[in-house]
């Protein structure tokens, strides 16, 4: 649900990074924060536990420049990945415009990825969204680790509808901006489609 402000000529969109615990959602945002020019970003807020696990959300506002005289701003959020924080995840999905699913490529995490994706679908459905109709991008993270599942296998399980997907090593920035650009593009394209309809 984009927020279009004609008074200030701004479009604000909300993108949520979803995925199982320790898959690298916060790492994605940290990399974006580190590599974005100061004038294009706000402060990154992390509501985390003392052990640096996300407790409620991370938040990073980005300004991408202007389209047709409208400033485009993207608010990036992560959800807490750990299973028991489901109530918080539901809250963060409110008003979402686009979702990035960060998958952990390690073979041992295949089930956790699938569980998290099902959880995403369920939580979206509760709020009347259908994942297939939302701008959606999948990131296969941690491609530098040993014992990882082949991308083809992950794609079949996590992205059967062939949304844009990227291999990534978020800790080194690989694939991070590709993922962000893909979801931002998809959100803006959806906005155009909605406007034309």
């Amino acid at each position: 649900m984009s927020f279009i402000n004609y008074g200030q000529r701004e479009i604000n969109c909300k993108i949520v990074y979803y995925g199982p615990g320790l898959c690298g959602k916060t790492t994605n945002l940290q990399w974006i924060y580190q590599r974005t020019a100061p004038e294009a970003k706000g402060k990154m807020i992390s509501l985390a536990t003392e052990q640096d696990r996300t407790l409620f959300f991370d938040f990073l506002p980005l300004s991408l420049g202007e389209i047709r005289g409208f400033k485009t701003r993207f608010h990036l959020y992560t959800v807490p990945g750990q299973v028991f924080y489901d109530a918080s995840r539901k809250l963060i999905l409110k008003g979402v415009d686009g979702v990035v699913f960060v998958a952990d490529s390690q073979i041992g995490r295949v089930e956790a990825n699938m569980e998290s994706l099902e959880n995403l679908q369920g939580n979206l459905a509760e709020q009347g969204y259908v994942l297939e109709k939302l701008p959606f991008v999948v990131q296969y993270n941690k491609r530098d680790l040993p014992d990882i599942a082949p991308v083809e296998e992950l794609r079949e399980l996590l992205n059967p509808t062939h949304n844009p997907d990227y291999e990534a090593v978020a800790s080194k920035g690989v694939g991070v901006f590709d993922t962000l650009k893909a979801v931002a593009k998809s959100v803006l394209t959806e906005l155009r489609r909605g406007a034309g309809a």
Binding site: S2, G7, F56, K185
Partner: protein, 157 residues
Amino acid sequence: MNVVMYEDELNQIQVVVDKLVRDANARVVCIVDKNGQLIAASGETENLDTTSLASLIAGTIAAMGGMAKLLKENEFPTQFHEGVKANIHIQLVGNRVILAVIFDSRATLGLVRLRVKRASDELNTIFEALAKRIPSGTGVEPFAEITDEDIDNLFND
């Protein structure tokens, strides 16, 4: 479904928040939508990260809403947090937007509550009018004109 804000309504909202800053002796007044977008702010905002503040205010309202649901309550529409130098009063207005007032020892909670009540009524009227305007308004037509090139250009740095 997008949230659309027009210049007329934005100006009316700004008048209400400017007045609330004065009437309540507040430091800052913010209007935030429930998804965390800042709609308007007034007062001593120069050195305040209002964007982050807006997302956190929406986060607390969302968390309290979640708690209310678990307790079979409809909402907890009002929150007050007292600090050493600053206090914050957060009010859900018409279940649509959030009105946050940050104040210090120049104001009292009683005064803030009184002024917030009046401002909430005014805001409710504005947002009701806005909600009715959307279906008949011009919608988001400027974006129908966006080209692939416009979108690509955002990323050409």
